[in-house]
Structure formats: structure tokens, C-alpha cells
Symmetry: C4
Subunit: 494 residues, 4 copies
Amino acid sequence: MAQEKLISTQEISSHKTPDDCWIVVDNQVWDVTGFLDTHPGGPTIILKYAGRDATRAYSEVHTSGLLKAELAPDQYKGKLDESTIDENWHKQPASENPEAVWGNDKPPLETLINSHDFEHVASRTASKKTWAFYSSAATDLITRDANKSCFNRIWFRPRVLKNVRSVDTKSKILGVDSSIPLFVSPAAMAKLIHQDGECAIARACESRGIMQGVSNNSSYTIEELRDAAPDASFFFQLYVNREREKSAALLRKCSANPNIKAIFVTVDAAWPGKREADERVKADEGLSVPMAPSQAKNDSKGGGLGRVMASFIDPGLTWEDLVWVRKHTHLPVCLKGIMSADDAILAMEAGLDGILLSNHGGRNLDTSPPSIITLLELHKRCPEIFDRMEIYVDSGIRRGTDILKAICLGATAVGMGRSMLFATNYGQAGVEHLIDILRDELETAMRNTGITSLDEAGPHLVHTGDVDHLVPRSPLHPYARKIARGRSPRASKL
Amino acid sequence: MAQEKLISTQEISSHKTPDDCWIVVDNQVWDVTGFLDTHPGGPTIILKYAGRDATRAYSEVHTSGLLKAELAPDQYKGKLDESTIDENWHKQPASENPEAVWGNDKPPLETLINSHDFEHVASRTASKKTWAFYSSAATDLITRDANKSCFNRIWFRPRVLKNVRSVDTKSKILGVDSSIPLFVSPAAMAKLIHQDGECAIARACESRGIMQGVSNNSSYTIEELRDAAPDASFFFQLYVNREREKSAALLRKCSANPNIKAIFVTVDAAWPGKREADERVKADEGLSVPMAPSQAKNDSKGGGLGRVMASFIDPGLTWEDLVWVRKHTHLPVCLKGIMSADDAILAMEAGLDGILLSNHGGRNLDTSPPSIITLLELHKRCPEIFDRMEIYVDSGIRRGTDILKAICLGATAVGMGRSMLFATNYGQAGVEHLIDILRDELETAMRNTGITSLDEAGPHLVHTGDVDHLVPRSPLHPYARKIARGRSPRASKL
Amino acid sequence: MAQEKLISTQEISSHKTPDDCWIVVDNQVWDVTGFLDTHPGGPTIILKYAGRDATRAYSEVHTSGLLKAELAPDQYKGKLDESTIDENWHKQPASENPEAVWGNDKPPLETLINSHDFEHVASRTASKKTWAFYSSAATDLITRDANKSCFNRIWFRPRVLKNVRSVDTKSKILGVDSSIPLFVSPAAMAKLIHQDGECAIARACESRGIMQGVSNNSSYTIEELRDAAPDASFFFQLYVNREREKSAALLRKCSANPNIKAIFVTVDAAWPGKREADERVKADEGLSVPMAPSQAKNDSKGGGLGRVMASFIDPGLTWEDLVWVRKHTHLPVCLKGIMSADDAILAMEAGLDGILLSNHGGRNLDTSPPSIITLLELHKRCPEIFDRMEIYVDSGIRRGTDILKAICLGATAVGMGRSMLFATNYGQAGVEHLIDILRDELETAMRNTGITSLDEAGPHLVHTGDVDHLVPRSPLHPYARKIARGRSPRASKL
Amino acid sequence: MAQEKLISTQEISSHKTPDDCWIVVDNQVWDVTGFLDTHPGGPTIILKYAGRDATRAYSEVHTSGLLKAELAPDQYKGKLDESTIDENWHKQPASENPEAVWGNDKPPLETLINSHDFEHVASRTASKKTWAFYSSAATDLITRDANKSCFNRIWFRPRVLKNVRSVDTKSKILGVDSSIPLFVSPAAMAKLIHQDGECAIARACESRGIMQGVSNNSSYTIEELRDAAPDASFFFQLYVNREREKSAALLRKCSANPNIKAIFVTVDAAWPGKREADERVKADEGLSVPMAPSQAKNDSKGGGLGRVMASFIDPGLTWEDLVWVRKHTHLPVCLKGIMSADDAILAMEAGLDGILLSNHGGRNLDTSPPSIITLLELHKRCPEIFDRMEIYVDSGIRRGTDILKAICLGATAVGMGRSMLFATNYGQAGVEHLIDILRDELETAMRNTGITSLDEAGPHLVHTGDVDHLVPRSPLHPYARKIARGRSPRASKL
């Protein structure tokens, strides 16, 4: 093995001709000039990556280790200096239209027939960083996976011989009509996967009649979204800024926007979770968002967009602050991120308009409970809550059957975040196609459980015996209560 | 990579000589004319696929990516235009007898020794579409897999030192003699896997003394089946047509056929399930069946035969319609597709002759309960039902032990659908061989649990502790009852 | 592809010279004469298999499909006619000493350090048929695997700060001293894996001070075993012959043999199980055993030695027959194969001397309960039995910890069958080595749970919470009892 | 295949020139002299391993079996005589700086972001023996794996809207300040992975403000550690020597060392466990440790360092001996290795200062209970113990969430052993980095469960419903008690 020299991307990029051709494979830099003519696959394919990273193309046809075996040791130039990687490095070869390249990789939209398909295509066609940011979750991914598997462990108790010729999926969320009991959960920076970003989502929601939750870290401002989809209904997801006045201004601006129907204050992200896949990929430091002071950077912990973009959020937020929120908006106020019946009860007592049971898609605290389990906890510990406020659920919903199960267990509607981002890969049409798929799956599930309206959904249609042991039943341990009462601020009526 | 041109199957087919030879591998079209002489395996094997899709043969001997490495870029002609695929494209090379080709692939019948073997052989030798249609199930396949695994989690409590020299598997289904407590569950379009289709099954059932359930979507008419097997006993599975009179006519025709002993009205298919493997493979639009107005077609959702062939079925069927069924037949009437004790009780109260606990092989509603769990639910919630009507079970039965477990838990008989289709791959002899295998497995299981007659089977011979938590025990939740009573039609005495 | 001709082993064997060299790989016959000189690995390795099956050697260095790619189509001669395979075909090349060849493959005995190692080596070095016969179990292998996994799910409750300097594993089985509470479970035809067969086991048991259960289908007679190991103690496992007088004669002969200390009547094999791996491999029809009228043969079901060698066993054996057994022997009589507390109670009431809880290693009825679960059932349902008779356990024991768990739960001793056969692969030394390993593991487990004598073992040292739901607790269902009482013969006091 | 001759490492080492070059791959010795010039990868890479074992480098680029195919049979010289392997054999080629070589393989420290990363890097860069010794555990690894998985099956019950701006992880262990409730569990021979061994750990603990448990089998003496880190706090883990006076002397020396704050007497290693991965790799017989009479050797059981280095430990240690320990030290005395509430109660009654719930990382008795399960057992059976003595937990902790769960369930602090050894791979900086990671993970977990101080942690913040069935609840079985009381020494008040 030749001397292990670090070579910058700038230097590599200068060796890009047939007379002087370097490529990078698995972070190793090779001079392949003399190999161009003897390459069994011909020189063209190699020259396409002259002065560039050829790892992906290489690994599609060759096993690792082959280069080392085929080339002479002195053709090995050194190691890629990863600290010199910049935006240019990841760009497609200049002679190609990047969109066309992606287009080549993405199968036609109509061949995608479920939410998993969108995820699979995104894993192959989104940039490494986008995939890492969207798909990652906290540490060992236990909550992320349980979010889905707990839905799978709830069984239907289907009824037969009902007239299910026509089925009605219409619902209302805080008084706003929704064609199906589904909304887009707020998720940051949709532009990473498609130029139209949240605008594409907004147009799709408008055309399909569902609400869009707009992230405080959206790639587009709420005004831009309204321009894109003038008849859409939104709710705004607020991260409360350490500098309260900035959040107050944002609240006032949202309240003045007639398309915004509610404020969802995020409470499950007191501190950004450790999303390791995200940390492991360097972030583009030029990245920022318009409605928050977030700015991407790479630091000693890694390149985690999820962490860095959240650094303005105030970890000191308490129940008292909700009074302050109410002061700056006339809109309904809901909480996003309730993970226990205890806090659901406090929210009910505090007079909130709704709560979104969510663990942030498993992105913040690993082994926090799956949302559907928290919904079951409400049934066991405070069933009266379903008459007092609207309950929403996100985290883990992938199928129409998941939606129906949540509705059966008392949810007003459910949200989907990641899947919607993956659908944005195809722009507005992608999101519309995903919504259509979910509506069709929901209707099929309703008909095959024997109901034609969501009013008929109820706990009698599901059996939860396989997950009941995961549901906390007891109120807080006395000892714990003492601590909780003594030290934590009390929730006051808003 | 050369320009990505779409090439029609028609064009490809015209390049099929040694002087002009194209082949398709993984949807990529290559000109291999110049490669014929240097191919290490010789030109013959390549020429066999001249102008055709060689993917399967290629992948048996080569790793993917090899072609791209071996051929020059200009030998790549473009991408297969999948929209031009037609029946001819999938045909075997004209110089060969298709049956012989399949015959080469299928191992000799006597080397198949269990139902899994038949499935395995079908997965390799049936056409892609046939395999997709037969094997697919709803969305994430959870119910399909649980159907089998729940049987595996029920343990025997075997007794020893019983005289088991002679064992008697004889049973009666609605008064009809059955050599073993097994029938062929109705399943559509058996001709897809063998020219003789349901006729092969009928002859096998006749020779082996078991009943055949004939699907409304059978490839052959009930008259043709009777001609094929004059001494066979059938029951007819009815999908009630939106146009009632057509179903009435069919009922009258069935009732006049002395070989038909009962009518099974399917109630678990109010709406066709989403079987994604089936949707992903294009259907042959020439396909139709003689006893229903079904006609295959490909639409925006895909090529799902299971969905399209079911489009005539009335999703408005209710308990009242069963009165109408009785008017058009003197035969016993049973329901196929009961998935809850609640509906079993309604069926009992409505005076049905029998119910088949079934979730349609997991093909309609994913996470609907495994049939064997529903059978346990009857034990917990309405044990008197076993004295009032016959109970059958299908979905998930693969072994003689599965049959015995269902009988121990009160079933009169069990049905097998998919396995019988896979056995039809070998025609009548295949179905006979599978029935013989199951009889042998059942006898072995009976002897090794210490019984010699099915009358001795009972719940004392099994332990269900590993699945009891999956069994709903409570009656309907009061809230749910209110809904159910208020909105759903009541079952009236037929 | 050339014409698919079937070629007999006799013809293949005649092409075995450098001038005319055929080999068989994956049942395909190839003429490799012209390839000898160009083979990158040289001609020697090929010539070693001239006229023979080279599949194993070939697959060690080449990927499948390579031959087809390298050779011309006309070098393919046809398919091996498997019906012509005979004993000679499987013999090693004549120029080599078979033992030496095996020796090459088998790692040195001292490198094997647990029972899994012996199984792994046997899987690679025993003949295909021997491996299939020894390792196979009934149908889907559920009981075989649960036998082991249920041991793994029982946890110790270890105690500390006990003086465990010296530990005593001594035990008594029916009054016979045993150096550890372990015996060799009777298993058929040990000669298949080593010329010395059961004689090797006998010598090892003699030298290590444990009992050997001798199978009715042993490769050697009980006299030969006694000659081999004059100081060994045996028990004889009886399969009762349909022709009672033959079994009576065998019983009298055993009773006259002073080394035989007990008779174990097998009751869990009323009918031979369906061991599919065994059926799939052709049996050597010359195979027979000296103490039973068993004779191997291949029939329409396959080549299952386990099935065919058991065909003399009387499936009509009942509790009454045990009276007849007592008449022909003065030795203690135990039952092998109890799988329920119900039959354990009957055995206790019938005055048997001991029972061996066993499901025949999962070889007879799939989903019969793991033996260790049956032991727990005795604790729940008839704890008094442990004061009335000796209880043994086999099926699933692989570790010293497994032995200790069974002893803690009341077993007098445990048996190991398959593992001992795999150890016989190395002859007497192999079995001794395995016994030494298990003794060491048992002593380590005893010390680390804080006990020094088996008298201290008890249920307080284990926690069974992870398997308790698998244990039947109820007595027989009344309905079932009625059937059982009405139809099965009553056990009478012997 | 050429004659199977055993060849010594000495002979192989003499063939190390371009004119006479042998290499060893997979224990086979090949003469590759004639192959140097034709090697596609060039001669340099081969010559690097001339006269040496090239297995690792070879397997990185070639599939096994390739050598045999490429070389002529006579180039095969024979088999490596493993008995001749000595320290020199495993050394890196003399021309290279070993650290640099390791450095090449190890990714930069800052790219490691969790404890798993350290383990992964160690598995690839530590010597085969070091990896085997550190990572191995008893027999089937069931306890090792359950140690971790049981943490994963405990769910948080997170609270929201707490002010978590500043979080305080400070704790006290036996009165000693600890910046986080974490200590380094004593683990033997850290020098195997890094020259600085335990000194590196000591410096890291000093700089990060946590305690280090020093193993009796440490590679450095307690004096050396104090010299390395004059302000560090240690506790000393004692294995009581069969020769008591040697342990007494060690105790007195420790007690005179002001940096040592406590003595932990190990009680879960009455007998060394069977760690098979460790046994399978030959030990360097020159290996010894300074504070114990341990000396590595290879014997008939294998090369198990864990076993051989423990041979001086007295398996006769009892509760009475703790009185003797107290006589030789004024320091607090704790027990390491309690695995049941029964012994925890005895320890409490005996007046110990603390207990470390531990199963030795699953290294001693397989299927001994996971420590976190034992902690739950204390809650169920003797909750008063948490007011009477400090409780520590190790075995299975890999994440900040694991630490918080243990604290919630009453632990004072937790220990990490293996992970710290793997971090020592990078010296002091590696251990510091790992501690920093864990502190960050703990703080994130505290904030996201809504607490800011460890005093607020309590059982109300976790739900254990998924593991509660694994927790023994009953006191000892009466029968067992009788045995335990009758035969085992009573614990007396110290």
C-alpha cells in the first residue's frame, strides 16, 4: 500500500481528462489513466466520473477490493480528504441535467402503489444527506420501529353483511373539513428532496382537501405556501424561540393569515434527539430556513441537521408559556408531542383545543412509547378526555388500516410526516398520489370491517390483546408524584 | 451509458438471428451479435433467447452487471418499453413445446412430499402472473402469515398407550360423506396453472372422496365439472352480483344440479383487498370466466386480477339478502368468511346451516384475525354454537396437524385453497397426491395424539396458552354496541 | 442445452481415465477430458473424481453455473440417473483410505469444545443419509427447535458466597451409580457414523461411569455391547413387536444379561413421525439391525429410515400390555415418551418405576410439547409424583446448564441422544470427550448457582416466568374426560 | 491435494524473499514465488506478507478457494503447525510501525459517535485474541444479549413542558463526587488493546470526574495508576486468593492508598465461566498481571484467558470471609455480582456498604438474570433496600437512556466495562470521548423525559410491562429454603 496521503477534492477534480484521469472509490483515490483502454466495460463509463467520486457506479458492477487487485500499488494516490468536500463535489457531472439523472432512477409514479414504495425510491434517489435527515431517528431506532410494529399487532374484529356500497371518509379537524381523517404532519425542509418542497405539498393538500401542518423550519414561508395554494388550510407548528419576541411576531403573522386554522406548539422536542445517521453525513452549511434563525453547520458531534436546525428552540418551555401563546393568537392552540396520559390530563385541564400524540417519529427519545400505545393509555386512564378535546396521532402510520385503527381508538385524525416528504420526491403529483392511495386503503379497510362512516368506528372493531401489556395503567407512583409536584411547574388554566 | 431509448417488444423480436441478435436482460436491450462467438458458454444458449427476454436464463449463470462490463457501450440499445409487452412476449420460444419446458423444470411428482413443496415448485414454474395472483395477499401480508403461525403456536397434549392400530378419518359435511375432514376451498381460475384447472381438482376429489368448493370465478362451469367428475360432490361459492337476477339464475342452476350439495355465500369480500404483488404484474386482458361477468383489465391501480375479477360483487349485501338467497335454492346455505363471534352468533340466530371461518387467506383485510383465533373466540364467547351449526375453518392450513387442531377445537372440517391450486400444477395427479399426503399426515397426527376417530378429538388435546391473549373475550363495548345497533341492519330469521 | 439423457452410475464410472474423464456435478454429467489441461487448478484434482460425483469438491472452489459457462454444450452428457445410485457410488475413491479422508475433513477432537461443535462437524463429514437420519425431525421442526429454546428461556436465580470448592455431581438412576445425572438416550444405528457404533458409546460410558440406553434398533446386539464394555450398565429400550413373542424373547434375553438394569418401553412412537429430510434421501436397502426385524427400503413415501425401521412396532400397545411386559422381566420397567401430566399420573398409579419425559427429540409429532414444559406441568398438576417415581427428561439438552435446570425442576437424570451419535463420529474418544465437556459445564453451572451437590438443586434456583404460559394447568376438560374414559382402555395396576 | 505436512512458523518465516516466498492463508502454506510476477495486484502486496500469515489481507480482496484454483498442487507446501505459533508470529512486519498500522485501520476518533462504534472498531482492529477475550461471554451468549435487550424493552413515560434549560447529572458514589452516575467497571488487562491500558482509563476518569474500578487483574498496579492520575478516585475490585494472606496484603496496600475509596469483593465468579470464543484462540503464554499470580497458559480446554487468569480465585469464599475482609481495611466494602433479591437482602442484613448487581457481563453463567431484571426484583421483593444501601448496576449498559432507566429504578450509579476497554483502543482520548458521549446522551434523555436532576428520576418515568414476567416475585420455595438454610453458611453481621 502506497503512502496514505490525504488529497483534497480540488486536486482530484483537476484530474479529469483521458490523459489524466483520477477517480475516487470508497474514499480511495486512484489514477486510472492507464487503465482506460483495458477496462472490459470500455473507457466511457470511467470518464464519466473523471475527477469525481465513482463509488456508486463502481459498486453497481464490481465487488469491493477489485480495484486494489487490478491496479498497481503506485496507481493508488491516497485518501480523499473528507474535510474538503463541498457542495460542488456532490453535484452531478456538469454535462448532465441533474433532474434527468434523478428521473432516470425514479420509476414512473404510477408504479408506486403504497407508502413503502415512496420510501424505497427515496432511499435510492434522494441525496445521501437528504435521506439521512429524513429517515433517521434517535439512537437505536427502537421507537421508530415500534411505532409501526405496534399498529401491526392490533387486530381488527371485522363485521360482515353490512351494506358498504358507499363509504364516507369525511371528517372535521377543529371545525375544518377534511376529506379523510389525515393531515400532513409538519416536517422540516421539504425542499431538500424537491425544488417545490412544501409548496408541492400545499398544492396537493389543496387539491385533495386535507390540512397541511407547516413546520416552523419549512423551506418556504407561510406566505409562499398560501400563494402556492390559495384555498388550502394549514395549521402552523411552532417551536418556541429562546427569544420569545421572535415567536410572538411569528404567531401574530400566522394569526393574520386566514388560511391558518390552528397553532400546534411542539412539546416533545425539549432537546433535539440524537439521530446518528444524520450526524454521520456532513451538512451543507449554506442551508437555512426562512421562518427560523436556523443555519446548518458541522461541529464536533457531526453534521446533524435535526440537531443544529433546532438549536434556537427554548428548552425552558413550560405550561405557563401556553398562556403567553394564547395572548398572541386567537387561533385554536394544540400541543404536539404528548407521550403520556398524565400530560394529556394536564392539557385537558389547561383547556387546550387538542393534542397530537406523537414521539416525533421516534426521532427524539429512543424507547419513548409508540403513539398508538399512548392512545390506548388514554382509554385506560382518562377515557373522558375523548369528549373534552380532539386527539390526533402521528408516528408510524403507513397504511389505511393504521388510520382506521387510530380512529377506532378515538383519534379525530392522524398525521403522516416522513411518508409525505418521500412522496414530495415526485412533487405535487407524488403527494397527491400518496393521498389517493391512503384514501383508497382507508375506504377498503372501512368496507371490509363493515362500516361506511367514521362515526361507526369504535374500539369494538379492534383487539389489542397483543400490546395491552405495553400500556401503563397505573397513575403515577406516589413517590414519583411527590417529586413531580414538588419540582415541576403546575399547569394553570389558560 | 448510451442514450436511454425505449424499445418495443415488436422491434426486439425482429432481431433474432445469428447475424442480428438482440436479447433483453433486466429490461435492458443488448445487441449481442458480435458476442456470440466469444461467449464462454457458446452461442447456442444465447441464440435460444434471440429477440427475447433472457433474464431468467442469464441470472442462473451470471451475476448482474456482468453484461455491462463485458459489452461495449454502443451494444446497449435501450430500455425495454414495458407498455408493449403482450401475450406473445411471455410465450416460450416457438421451437419448444411449452409443457415440455415446464416439465423440465418441475421435479417429478413423487418427490414432492408436503404442501410446501407444491408451493415452492409453483413459485418457480408457474407464470409470473399466476404466481402473483395465487400467492398474493392483502398489503403487508400480516394476516396471511399469522394464519399459519397461529396454528404453529398451538401445542398438542398427546396421550400414549392407546390402541391406534386402525384409525378412521371419516367425517360428514352437511350430511355428505367425506373421507377426511377436508374440502377444497373455492379459489378462482385454476386454469391459469394447468389446462385442466378445476376439472383436475374435481376428478381428484371424486377419486379421493372429498368435497370441492367451486368458485363463482371458476375457469370451468359447474356443468363442465360435473361432466368431468360425475360422482363428485360440490358446494357452490356464490359472490352475489350487483344485478341480483343474474345471481338468482345461477342459484337456480346450481340447485338443479344434483352434485351440488350446498351454497356458500361469501361475506368476507365486501370489497376486494389490495394484493400488491398481483397489482404489480400486468394482467392478460383476454382473461374471463364463464359463470361471472368478470373480465381482466389493467388500470391505474395496476393489473390486480383479484380486484378486477371481483368488480361485479355487490358490496351492499346484508343479512336480509340471505332471505332472498333461500328463496332461490332448497340447498343448505352457509356463510363463508365469518371473522368474529358476533357474526357467528348472528348467523346461528339467523338459522344458517353452517359457517366457514375464513379471512379469505389473508387476501382481503390485513390484520383481520387468523381463522383459528376466531375458532377459539367461539369457544370463549358462544360455545353453544358448536351444537347448533357446523363450523368450518380455512386460511393457513398446510399440515395434517393443522387439520387435527381445528377438529379438536370444534371444527367439522377444514378447507384448503391456495395449496390445492399449487397442486393443480400437476393436474389431477397432483391434487390426488396432495390429498393423500394430508390424509397420511392427519392419520399420523391422530395416532400420535392417541386417538383413532375424530369423535375423540377435543379441546383437551391441545394447549392454546401461547395464543390466548390474541382472542377477544369481551362482548362488544357498550359504546360500540350502541353504534352497531343503531346503524347496522338487524339480522332477521331466514 | 444438449438432450436430457439419463445416464447410469455404471456408465459414468467407466469414464475415469485422463483420456476419457467424466464427472458429475449437481447431478449433471460432463465430459471434462478436454478440459483437464486447461483447468487453472491443474488436472490432478479433477482426476481424483474421474467417473465420480465431484459436487462437494467442486462447490468448495467454484460458484454454481461456472461449468455450464466454461464447457461447450456438447460436453454435457446428460443427467445422472439417480435410480442407479448404489453403495459403490457413494464410496470414496478406491485409492484412498476412507478413514483418512474423513480424518482430513474432521478437525482434531480437542478443538471441539461443546455439543454444537460435534453437530456441526457431523453435518459436514457424515454421509448425506446419515446426517439426514440423525438430524431430521417431524415435519416443520417446531418441536425440535422448541425443545432447546424452552431451556434457554428458563433463567437461573444464582446464589453467591457459597463454598463451592468441591462439587459432587454423583447421582443414582434406579439404584445404579452415575457419575453425573446423564445417560445416553437410546438412538438407532450408531454404526452409520462410525464402524464401532454403539460399542464405542458403551466403552465411553463404561470409562466415564454413566448409563447407556440401548436402542431396540441398535447396530450391535446387547451381547456385543457387553463384550465391548464388560463393566458398563445399560438399560434396554424396547419397541414392542406386533409379534409379541419376539419381544418376549428379547425381554427374557435382556433380563438374563446382568449389565442391563432396566427396561424402558417406548410409548411416544405409536406411529413413526414424518421426518422429511430423512425421506428425501435414498436409503441403502442393505441396511438392517440385529435385534429387530427392521430392513431398510425405499418406497413411494421416500427413503425414511426412521419410518421404515419402525414398521415392526405395534401401534396397538396399551396400558394392559405393560402387565405382559412385567411377566417377562424382573427388571425395573419405565416408560419412555410421556408428554402429559395425565399420562404421568396414570404411570404413577400403574406402579411404573420411572418415566422418561420425551417427545422423541421432536421426531414423531410436531408441536408436541417440549419435555421441559411437561416437567413444569408435573409441578403444577401432580407435584406428589416426584416422591413416587423417578422422572427423566430428554429432547433438547445440549448444555450443562440444561442438565442443571432439569434437575432443579425435579428430574432424576437427563438423556442425550442425537449429540451422542454426533460424538460417535470420533468413536469412543469422541463420546468420552463430550461427556467430559458436559460434566465440566454442569460443575461450572452448579458452582455458579451456588450449590455443590445435586441435593441442593431445586425449583428455587430457576425462574420460569418466560415459559409459564406454555404449561397446561387445567386437568382434562370434562367433555374430553368423558371421551377419554369412555373409549380408552383403563390402566390397571401392574 | 499434496501431502498434508505440518510446517512450523520458524520454517515459514525463512521463506520471505522475492526469490523464495511462502505465505500462509487459512492455515495453508503456499509457495507463491512463481506467482509474484503474474499477480494482478502486483508483487508488492504479496511480498509484504512473505514468510507470514496473509489471511486477513487476502480475504479482503479474494474469495476463499481462489488460491487453490490458481496455483498448482505442488505449490501447496502443507499445513501450518499451529503448535509452533509464538508471539513473533503475530507481530506486524518489522518494517512497519505497529501503531501506524493500527492507525491506518482505525477511523478518526471524532467519527465514533456511540459505544457501538467503539465495539465495531475494536472488532476490526484489536488482535484476534484481544477481541476474543474482551467480547466473549459464557457459552450460548444468552445472558450477554439479554443484558442489553432487557434495557431496550423498558419504555420511558416522558413528561413535557418542564423547564429543562439546565440539567444536572452530578451524583455521589459512597460519598465521592461523580460528574455523572457512571463508573468504569473493573475489567482485566486493558493493556491488551493499548499500551497505556488502565493508565489511559485513569487519566480519562480523572479529567472527566468519574470513578474507575480497578481490576485485581489490571495490567498496571494501583500505584502506577495513582502516578498516572494523581487526582483520580478508584475503587479496588478484589478477587479473594486461595492463599488468604496474599489478599490481605493487597487489601492493606489498597487501604493505605488515599485515592482508593472502596473495596468491591467479586462474588459472581465463584468459578470462571466457559467463554468459548476466548478458549478457541491460543493465548500468549508470556502474559501475566502485576497484582495477582495469574499467568496465561494453553491447556486441554483451550486458551481461555478468562479462565486461566482466574485460577487463583478461591471458590470457597463465603459470607464469613467478609468479616475477614473488614479486618484488613477501613474502606467501605461492597459486593460485586449480586444476582438475586435473596442475596441482596443477606448483604443488607450483613451491613455491606453497597452492592453491584452484575452477572459479569454474561461471562460466567449463561442464563443468569439480566442485571436490570434483578433491579426490578429488588423493587418487588425488598423495596426498603434502596434506603439502606447503595445499589449499582452493570452488564448491558450502552446508552445514556440505559443509565437513566437504571437510575429511575433506584440505582445510585451504573458501571460500564467492555465498552470502556473498547474505547481504550484510542488511549485516554478514546475513553474521554466515550464518557463525553454518554454524558451527552444522558442529558438528552433527562431533558426529553422532563427532568433536570437525578433526584427527580423515579419508577414513575418508566414502564416495565414488557419484562415484568421475567422478574421473580416469590420468595424462595419452602423446600428450597430448607435446603438453603440447612446447608449453606449463614451470613453474619460484619
